[in-house]
Subunit: 242 residues, 2 copies
């Protein structure tokens, strides 16, 4: 069944008014009154609706019943990724959305090659990719995509979760599985991964000092756009969400 996202307030009174790109999508799918759609409020509730009016620019649907989306992981995970170059960021957003991230935040750090130019435009683009991926994979919420220019704020963000995982390539580290298994009750988590050039050692030290796990993710070296997806899959597996 076609799935759309909509702010909960537009669904009050038992009627959903579908506008903009979603209305266009309904038109493209050649849907007709009488057909059913799912409208998700983006906060974990699905509204099962029947179309009553289909028109250019605006369609209307009657709410039949509601149900919890049931597709959201039990762990709310923030992925914090060193800003990668070009298409890698698009890929990262798409795959992390499918795999269950709740929030995706890019940041710059010492060894970033990519420059944070035109970030407003890029964030808009990534948010669209997240929305598309959330729809396709049947997520109950659309991850928000953000940007932080301040490395301290990145660490602070991770510290305020139940399980802060900092992926690092060298030195003494905890296998990611051991870190995940040490927090079986985690309801929130953060995964921090570096850019193409990796992290400077002082950045890893800071992470450790504020109480994050310095983690390894196996002996193979993952590309910067692959690491967060594999780490997220590991977290979902370890917390019973796969």
């Amino acid at each position: 069944m076609a799935k759309f996202f909509m702010a909960a307030t537009n669904l009050l009174g038992g009627t959903a008014v579908i506008r903009g790109r979603d209305a266009e999508h309904i038109r493209v799918l050649r849907m007709k009154p009488g057909e059913d759609v799912v409208i998700c409020d983006g906060e974990g509730t699905d509204y099962y609706c029947r179309l009553v009016r289909v028109a250019d620019g605006e369609s209307e649907a009657k709410v039949l019943h509601t149900a919890p989306s049931g597709t959201e992981p039990t762990v709310r995970t923030i992925v914090l990724a060193g800003l990668p170059k070009g298409e890698r960021a698009d890929y990262l957003v798409q795959k992390c959305t499918e795999t269950g991230a709740s929030e995706i935040i890019f940041f710059t750090c010492t060894r970033c090659v990519a420059r944070p130019l035109n970030m407003d435009k890029k964030l808009e683009r990534w948010q669209r990719i997240a929305e598309e991926a959330a729809k396709q994979s049947g997520r109950g919420l659309i991850p928000t995509v953000g940007f932080l220019g301040d490395y301290g704020a990145v660490l602070d963000c991770a510290v305020h979760t139940d399980l802060g995982l900092f992926l690092y390539e060298t030195g003494e580290r905890t296998p990611i599985r051991a870190a995940i298994e040490a927090a079986p009750e985690a309801r929130s988590a953060a995964i921090i991964t570096g850019p193409e050039g990796g992290f400077a050692s002082f950045e890893a030290e800071l992470a450790q000092q504020v109480g994050l796990w310095l983690c390894s993710i196996g002996p193979r070296i993952l590309r910067c756009e692959t690491a967060p997806v594999v780490a997220l899959a590991a977290l979902m597996y370890g917390t019973g969400n796969l």
Copy 2:
């Protein structure tokens, strides 16, 4: 340290002769005699070498010592993927190589949208992607990329491993974690995933009849190029390879 792959026979006598694209790569890196490189035989052994001669088209290195690559997972995993369209296949090969696949086999089935045209050329391209990703991630072997036109052969391939996982989107299935945990001693595994259109129900029934696990991978629906990567990450996590 720069890593290259080479058939073991070229390393006999304590000297490695590096030709072709690898020699070109050494030239591009502006490496000089006296610098060290790692040459992997693609079968699990790394040769630590020192360059003694660098020239256009051919370089020579002296073997200092050898060591097991130590980056290969304990489970030898074949990824069998319904042939996807366009760039998705490239992505699948690259990410599955990084994540630890030993072999990647595309196949066609009822709901495949992609047509298996010019397969020789495509296989050559994918093999190159696998080689590149194996080098970058420090793998001890280069996964071979293949193609099977016969669905029966795909199932047969999976049946001859210790743990055959068939990812399916609907009906009664075993969570992938339960399937993996049921085979703690597995030394080989197969992950079968469908194309964009998924599997026909008879294809899933056949898989079950020959003894494969029909698996779910969480309540979210993954794209056809994402599912094998997430499943592989789950397998690596569950078998202690992350």
